[in-house]
Subunit: 278 residues, 4 copies
């Protein structure tokens, strides 16, 4: 049978990314507790296709990523996956994105009652002629309480659930636990959210958020500073979007920050290329 | 060319619903102000297929619904659309669902500054041997402020955006404006939400919500009672779901209520059959 | 601190359902292989609130469902969960819905290359004065190839990915494996879908779908008949929706079927009450 | 009442973007036919906040964008909107994104029967010290038919619905109609999709797609070349993602292309900053 994808192409249009998206696979993530957490990963895997090649053999991409099914995956395994992808596709560069819901135990602040919170997390990797780059991402649900509403009102202050997202790129050889990234983000909220809250806890979180009013702008700035304090981070992008309780639209703020003199990070964030839009 | 859909079928399995879903069309809705509002409608149209017929000619469904593109649609036009569908498909029953974002002007409570709020609305119609039935639906964004949090806390109270949905079925010959249904639902919130709020308005909505603490249970009950006060409603279903600001899960309550002695309404809500799941 | 939720209520509006929705938790599902699969469950848990009670203590719901975190859950555990919910809330009825992505290994039809397919699955349970009822649900991705397009065209036939969903309620004491339900649904497609397909496999699935042309109507009927052949099923609802490759809208068909003389199943499907709309 | 947002900030973290997201508004778009089409726009509006300013007055953003409600909006009005935003917020830069469903009439290829197709479209604008930049975007549903499947199979070939997205940035003073951009994209499909297809049309589209087999790689390359032929385009990004009918994952390809020697376009696409993730 003819191998159409390997044919030459005369249109002279290189393709930055060709691959598979939205492939679900069971994977494992090493917890800081040293246990493995089973996750449901949504995987994307892609390569560059030069101007003179017709296309990529996508079935090989599924084969490569399936080899990591039910196995532990972190920055170094992602590098191996990308090396294998480059080898089998003959491509100059390969990129992958793995998104998964990650659970952490969270105890109520007064009663201590424990449950689980879910965080959407991401691993992004890119391997090309300049080397390997890894980005760790987490989306953390938090409470924000409006400083303006508090300052001008006799009683109360509007507050709401918000999502605080961060992506961090760290130096080769370094390692950052999702547990640490998530905890550093939660600490920047007006108050963290919790799975179980008894009455004494509800009093505590209500009063804590009130004492700690923050705009989305404040949350993003404080998150950038807290990430700066983590060693080895060379770059971060942070975004907070709040489901305003007094409107039917959202408020958001974002910042990007380079900490190391010359990070190699590509200009276009990986995740955006894979998901949403062009 | 052979007409495969009209062939007979020997499997002896009648199909309750066969049709098209997620068809987008521009339509017009008569406002209470007597102007027409242009909307983007997501349309579903379906018929019953008896056990001995192979299938339905779905292209005719698109033809029928397209005749209403860029034209005013309400309960009576939906009935005509269903009559035409039955006539052209030879079916005993026909159902349609039309969902659209509807805008209403909303002025800030103190400054009076005006903007637009968007509401997801629905028209459902069913025409069968027992007659015609029409259901009007609206999803209204509101603020809820927790009575428990307020009662136990020294300062503040958690609050959040919530969605209050209602579906109402009214007697043949009656008419209920979306404007009236939406206003009656907004009035049951801890406080309505607004598009533009200047500082004096923000103080007002913060304090109003605080003075008017409500659980989702309260909102649903008050909404049911407010719908009961509208004349001609024979049945309603109400649901409120709040994006809890202190959790990463939601709270909800729902109630269904029959007001007239013998409404003809089918047991299975139309919308559910079309959208989500079986 | 005052217990506001337990207060009496004078509005005389009973609430069919009050609870929590969209709570994520890690759970385990027993595979037919006798291994346990770790899943990410989206949980809803709710009770009836009678007319004279103000509300439900939702934190208890989170406590109850969290007790099943990282533990095996099936029909019988769901019953225990509902019994505990009723006991702690003093409610007459309790309902739960658990949705999760479930993986099964699937081998390519010619090369035998193996990967994983993901299926959205659901457990629904309801416990009330009449007893316990359990519904098992699965959404299966399939290929459908249009019989009309094939019959009238010189070459080719349009085909597309479709979703075939089924919910089945089975007799108390019976047990149906997700593996068996999913396999019986996949067998009704023009061709199943696969994670990895090499060239010889792609030829096979292309030709198989072509030889086995089916409308969504055909798929639903054949699925109903295949479920009828499974012992112990007392009721099913089946729905197929295809992402038509020649349109920007979808085609769908659905059927509901009662197999046993007098199933106890409530008229309103549980899932619909929890998710989408009222 | 105190103006908290205008306070100075000592954290030394500039914020690239602060604003509102997911605000729905009715707007009008000038059609190439010279009529105005009423659309439901999802608007985002944001500014840069320098390191020494605490935050932005988001209510002013809603005021500014609401002034364009029910009025025609295109590249030049977006520029005025951004100038007004900069003036009222005192910001160095302002950006906006407007997304809307746009309808075009589409006639079946043989019967000529006419209906409407819906396209998700976008206007992005950015105004800063370097000037004004406008990006036009469209997502077009198409059919792709697999060349490999066709080449190796005795009969048939797998095909599916795909989405072809393009964003184009054109020189100041130029103007590109959405109608022209969409038509140039549809022409690159294996076959366009249509709202109404009678049997003779279905034969035509089935055979046309078969004769015109294309990978997503082919579609993207041909789209890039067709955009290159439109005058005045200085940059484009193109992406095609197909809902593979034989898999439960998608295939995609993307390319970015600079046509003019030195386009001013910022490195980070606007849309990505607003929607999805950081």
């Amino acid at each position: 049978m003819e191998d159409i994808q390997s044919r030459s192409d005369r249109r002279d249009v290189p393709l930055e990314r060709v691959g598979i998206a939205r492939l679900a696979l069971p994977m494992m993530i090493l917890e800081k507790s040293e246990a493995y957490q089973h996750v449901v990963a949504e995987c994307s895997l892609m390569v560059e296709v030069p101007a003179d090649v017709r296309g990529a053999h996508l079935s090989r991409f599924v084969e490569v990523v399936t080899e990591w099914a039910n196995r532990p995956v972190s920055s170094s395994e992602l590098r191996s996956l990308l090396e294998e992808t480059r080898r089998r596709s003959g491509s100059v560069s390969a990129e992958a994105e793995i998104r998964f819901t990650y659970f952490l135990p969270r105890s109520a602040p007064v009663s201590g009652m424990s449950g689980f919170l879910d965080y959407m997390c991401e691993f992004h990797g890119r391997l090309d002629g300049e080397g390997y780059e890894f980005i760790l991402g987490a989306e953390v649900p938090i409470t924000t309480l409006c400083p303006c509403s508090r300052a001008i009102s006799e009683v109360g202050a509007h507050n709401q659930r918000a999502t605080l997202e961060a992506k961090v790129c760290y130096a080769d050889g370094a390692f950052i636990w999702l547990e640490d990234l998530i905890a550093s983000l939660e600490a920047q909220a007006s108050c963290p959210v919790f799975p179980i809250l008894k009455r004494a806890d509800e009093k505590y979180v209500t009063e804590t958020a009130y004492e700690n009013a923050k705009f989305v702008e404040d949350v993003v700035r404080d998150a950038v500073l807290s990430i700066e304090r983590m060693s080895d981070v060379v770059w971060c992008a942070v975004r907070c979007e709040s489901v305003e309780s007094i409107h039917n639209h959202n408020a958001f703020a974002s910042a990007e920050r380079v900490f190391a003199p010359s990070p190699r990070r590509a200009d276009v964030p990986l995740a955006n290329a894979v998901r949403g839009s062009v």
